[in-house]
């Protein structure tokens, strides 16, 4: 049933007719797939729908009115900033209202106090340029320069620059959230006034409701405005150069420099990260998969494969690179100090510097995530977890081993163990494992691998990014906390009693496993007999499951 007329009229009164539409052509433009992050998977095909209507509010007040109307008429709604995160950012039930937040793009900068106050429509490359212009910088999350700053900061928000800048959670200052039932929550210093400069408090910190480790995928409200910390950088300009597709930032070499080192072994590679963290130098320290370097050099997909297929498991296993970004925050003298210390470490460990371009094609401003789709057409990260260097350096090979069973359809990568690096000056370690495939092939293996990694992490007692809404809650819940899922369910029921905010998240992956016949064999855990949803949602999900199975 489409959105009822009364509700549609009420919504129209909030934003004006120009910013609301239920036209099929408009709604089709908001389809999740067929491609994108985590698209080309069973989850995307089974769980996403095009919206019943799309609305574009301009302010927190308009968002609040919209949410209240949705509660009044029991209309499922989904917050959407850029939609880049893939199926999980799109409606999962029919006739949902997609709340497109791109018009919330106000931006203010407080240079003296190192933060910017911005809306959900502001993306990272805009933000980073505003920071660089003022002698500051931020982490552009691995999602890319095109990601919404707010959406990324409540679900992701790290990159090699996190070696110095640290967890994204700490960069969230005064924030405005429209809770699922339409109440407004203002956190930090915004709780008591209009100044968003501070993030903690008052007393217990309700920023705890914003994200978890990798986000709530929009099921606990809509963040409309956020003050975000900016970190001091250095004063020299990073000049954009080149014509697309060969663009880069030219680095002022006395203040910003990448250096690549070839290490004699994995042990040396890992030790380098520990030592650099211990010495408290550098702005980034990372090791990335070898095929990323091939992507960067290849002019097209075909060239990539021609080069990549020359590699072998042996060349991969023996490729130990450490990339270090030196930043002269304080002065040129400090840059020299950092470089001297780095050279000391590399001398001790046998690291050999390679000729490195005096430019940045990624990470500082571009964050080249779109290249991830070049090789095969489909991509998802099956982990992007912050833990310690102890877990980070051991995590990837465990994935690589499991992946062999699912290759094909997964891309042949000669057992590459993903990437890992130091975060927060060695207090944390980061590991990410990425998979690629062609969605025109049978993707059952992709869906299975994705779920099997969750069980693998449980067995190995690893922490993982794919927790919460990313995997079946009844699988991971009992094994982490334990029973974090029960608390999430209680919070969800308290704040969203009608379950109108992006249903059935956070249980969407549970629904997927139950709905998709090819997933049933993997279900080795119990789900409770009593459904966690209110009656209207139970009915709707049952009907949509039946429709899906009938189509098959």
């Amino acid at each position: 049933m489409a959105i009822v007329k009364e509700a549609y009229k009420a919504l129209e009164a909030v934003v004006g007719a120009k910013y609301l539409s239920d036209d099929p052509a408009i709604c089709e433009g908001y389809r999740s797939g067929p491609c994108g992050y985590e698209a080309g998977t069973g989850y995307e095909r089974v769980m996403t729908k095009i919206p019943g209507a799309v609305i574009l509010p301009r302010s927190t007040e308009e968002v609040q009115k919209i949410v209240k109307i949705c509660n009044r008429y029991v209309i499922p709604y989904v917050p959407y900033s850029t939609g880049f995160y893939g199926p999980r950012s799109h409606p999962h039930v029919e006739n949902a209202l997609l709340v497109d937040l791109k018009r919330l793009n106000d931006f203010e900068f407080d240079e003296k106090h190192w933060y910017a106050n911005l809306g959900s429509g502001v993306i990272y490359s805009q933000f980073q340029e505003e920071c660089l212009r003022r002698g500051g910088y931020v982490v552009i999350g691995g999602g890319g320069a095109q990601a919404s700053v707010i959406a990324n900061l409540i679900g992701d928000g790290w990159s090699p620059l996190t070696h110095r800048i640290g967890l994204p959670h700490r960069r969230i200052l005064g924030t405005e959230v429209v809770l699922p039932d339409g109440e407004i929550l203002r956190t930090g210093s915004l709780a008591v006034g209009d100044d968003p400069f501070w993030g903690d408090g008052i007393g217990p910190d309700l920023r705890g409701l914003l994200r978890g480790y990798t986000g709530l995928r929009g099921c606990l409200g809509i963040v409309t405005k956020m003050a975000v910390k900016v970190l001091p950088f250095q004063p020299e300009r990073l000049q954009p150069t080149g014509i697309s597709p060969n663009t880069a930032l030219a680095l002022p070499e006395k203040r910003v420099k990448w250096v690549n080192y070839i290490m004699p072994s994995k042990a040396a590679q890992v030790k380098a990260m520990y030592e650099i963290g211990k010495a408290e130098i550098a702005g980034a320290v990372t090791k990335v998969p070898l095929f990323w370097r091939v992507i960067a050099k290849a002019e097209c997909k075909e060239e990539f494969w021609t080069e990549w297929l020359k590699e072998t498991p042996e060349t991969i296993a023996n490729f130990h690179i450490v990339r270090v970004l030196l930043i002269g925050f304080t002065s040129e003298e400090q840059m020299e100090y950092d470089e001297n210390v780095l050279n000391d470490i590399m001398m001790e460990l046998g690291g050999q510097p390679r000729r490195t371009k005096p430019s940045d094609e990624s990470w500082i401003k571009n964050a080249d995530s779109a290249g991830m789709w070049l090789m095969c057409g489909s991509y998802v990260s099956v982990d992007y977890v912050i833990e310690t260097l102890a877990q980070a350096t051991e995590h990837g090979p465990v994935y690589a081993e499991l992946k062999k069973k699912y290759t094909p359809p997964l891309m042949p990568d000669h057992g590459d163990p993903g990437w890992f690096q130091s975060f927060e000056l060695g207090y944390h370690g980061y590991s990410e494992f990425l998979i690629y495939w062609d969605q025109d092939e049978d993707t059952t293996g992709v869906d299975h691998f994705y779920l099997e990694t969750s069980k693998m992490n449980i067995d190995h007692r690893f922490y993982t990014a794919l927790i919460g809404p990313h995997q079946p809650m009844y699988l991971t819940g009992p094994k982490y906390g334990p029973n974090y899922h029960e608390w999430m369910l209680k919070i969800k029921n308290e704040l969203d009693p009608l379950w109108v905010c992006h249903p059935p998240v956070p249980f969407a992956h549970d629904e997927f496993v139950d709905r998709a016949p090819w997933m049933h064999e993997l279900k080795t855990w119990e789900s409770p007999k009593k459904s966690p949803y209110p009656e209207w949602l139970q009915k709707q999900l049952a009907a949509e499951t039946a429709a899906f199975l009938a189509k098959k």
Binding site: D23, G29, G83, S125, I243, T247, W373, L374
Partner: protein
């Protein structure tokens, strides 16, 4: 893995099924390329999606819509037609996407229009009127064909035979005679004799742009034949849209390569740059002004030469034989800048969005006629940028840009002077 036969013909939308279905919604088609991102202001390069905020109006939305058309999920409707046609096809999306990927966005958008025409749904009524004008009067305006050469004043010498053929185009012939006259005088000043088409007809830009390929192809054949008969070695244009038509679309329509046309296609900015280097063009009269330059799309992003291709797509979407994709890297970026920098007295200040990041004026390829509001919006937005950099004069290399900007200036009430590139050069030539 089985392979699929594929080629670059826009007459079959299925040729672009892979491309459209592989859009990752990164909006590289919408934003200024991130390396060059100037901040929160002037941060996009898609006029359609800035004019209408719904995702469907950006290329990333249209790729989903195109996939929907191929999969027969969507029927033609007024909204769908607006989505497909309210778009100057400026190429920003194509170049933006190809920064990282191998997807043919521009060609997909063209193919959607061809399908609209094939299905009898398109083009827009205003485009049909233009098609009628061309059929009846050989120009987009429906003006008297016999008056096409009225721009030629007594002081302009047209050669009976020359290596260079100046293709004037409809707009300069009828609406912007000053451009044609300035161009002619520049050629003379550079000691370059030129001829005109004995009987110049429209280049067919609007027809090709809106998906009326058969009509466009007839014009292409006719015009090429006429050039060949003239013995010209070079076709020179002062209109960016015309330049694109001759250099890229004519070969595309005839399934040949640009190199196989049998003559060179050159825009005035290229000619001037070469003439300057040779010493044949002397820009010595000072022009004291603070000036900025708008990169017209059809001599920038859309200007890479055409090579036909057909082959197969197979494993992981790879194609064979190898396909060197057009990524907009060979636009005429340096040439106009060389010329501007050679003019004494000019304080040249770049726009915030330049070259492949330039924001289209919104007029071209049938957009102004069918969607005057979009064209006016885009030009008004670009004018804000002109004012932001403090320019007194705005120069472009296309009459469509000039006229649209001039209208925007008038509506805005500002004092920015809008000039064509030909007028700028002329102003710097000694009398």
């Amino acid at each position: 893995m089985p392979t699929t036969k594929v080629n670059l013909e826009t007459t079959d939308l299925n040729n672009y099924k892979y491309d459209m279905s592989r859009c990752i919604k990164c909006k590289g088609c919408y934003w200024v390329e991130h390396t060059y991102q100037p901040g929160v202001k002037f941060s996009t390069r898609c006029p359609s999606n800035l004019w209408n905020d719904f995702d469907s109006y950006g290329a990333f939305g249209k790729m989903r819509i195109g996939t929907g058309l191929v999969e027969k999920k969507l029927d033609w409707s007024p909204t769908l037609l607006e989505i497909v046609y309210a778009d100057p096809l400026c190429g920003a999306c194509d170049v933006g996407c190809k920064r990282n990927l191998d997807l043919e966005i521009e060609l997909s958008l063209e193919a959607m229009r061809v399908k609209a025409v094939q299905d009898g749904a398109g083009p827009m009524p205003a485009h049909k009127k233009i098609a009628q004008n061309i059929a009846s009067f050989h120009n987009v305006f429906g003006a008297t064909h016999a008056n096409r050469k009225q721009w030629v004043t007594a002081d302009i010498k047209v050669a009976k035979k020359a290596d260079v053929l100046y293709f004037v185009g409809c707009t300069a012939s009828y609406r912007n005679k000053e451009i044609a006259q300035s161009t002619a005088k520049i050629l003379s000043a550079a000691k370059t004799p030129f001829m005109l088409m004995p009987d110049e007809w429209c280049c067919g830009n609007t027809l090709q742009s809106v998906g009326m390929l058969d009509e466009a192809r007839e014009l292409a054949k006719r015009n090429i034949e006429m050039v060949k008969n003239s013995g010209a070695k070079t076709v020179l244009l002062s209109c960016a849209e015309g330049y694109r038509m001759w250099k890229v679309e004519y070969p595309k329509l005839l399934n040949i390569a640009t190199d196989d046309l049998g003559f060179e296609v050159v825009h005035l900015v290229e000619f001037a740059d070469e003439a300057l280097k040779r010493g044949d063009l002397k820009l010595t009269r000072p022009f004291e002004t603070r000036l900025t330059y708008h990169d017209s799309c059809s001599i920038s992003r859309l200007a890479d030469p055409w090579t036909p291709w057909s082959g197969e797509r197979g494993w992981m979407g790879t194609v064979s034989p190898p396909l060197k994709r057009r990524r907009g890297a060979h636009g005429l970026y340096a040439q106009p800048r060389n010329v501007i920098n050679a003019i004494p007295g000019v304080q040249f200040v770049e726009m915030i969005r330049t070259r492949e990041n330039a924001f289209c004026c919104g007029a071209g390829r049938g957009t102004k006629e069918a969607f005057p509001d979009l064209a006016s919006f885009a030009a008004g937005h670009r004018l804000e940028e002109v004012k932001e950099v403090g320019a007194e004069v705005l120069v472009s290399a296309c009459p469509w840009c000039k006229n649209n900007f001039a209208q925007a200036v008038k509506e805005d009430g500002s004092s920015v002077k809008v000039m064509d590139f030909s007028e700028l050069i002329l102003a710097s030539l000694e009398a």
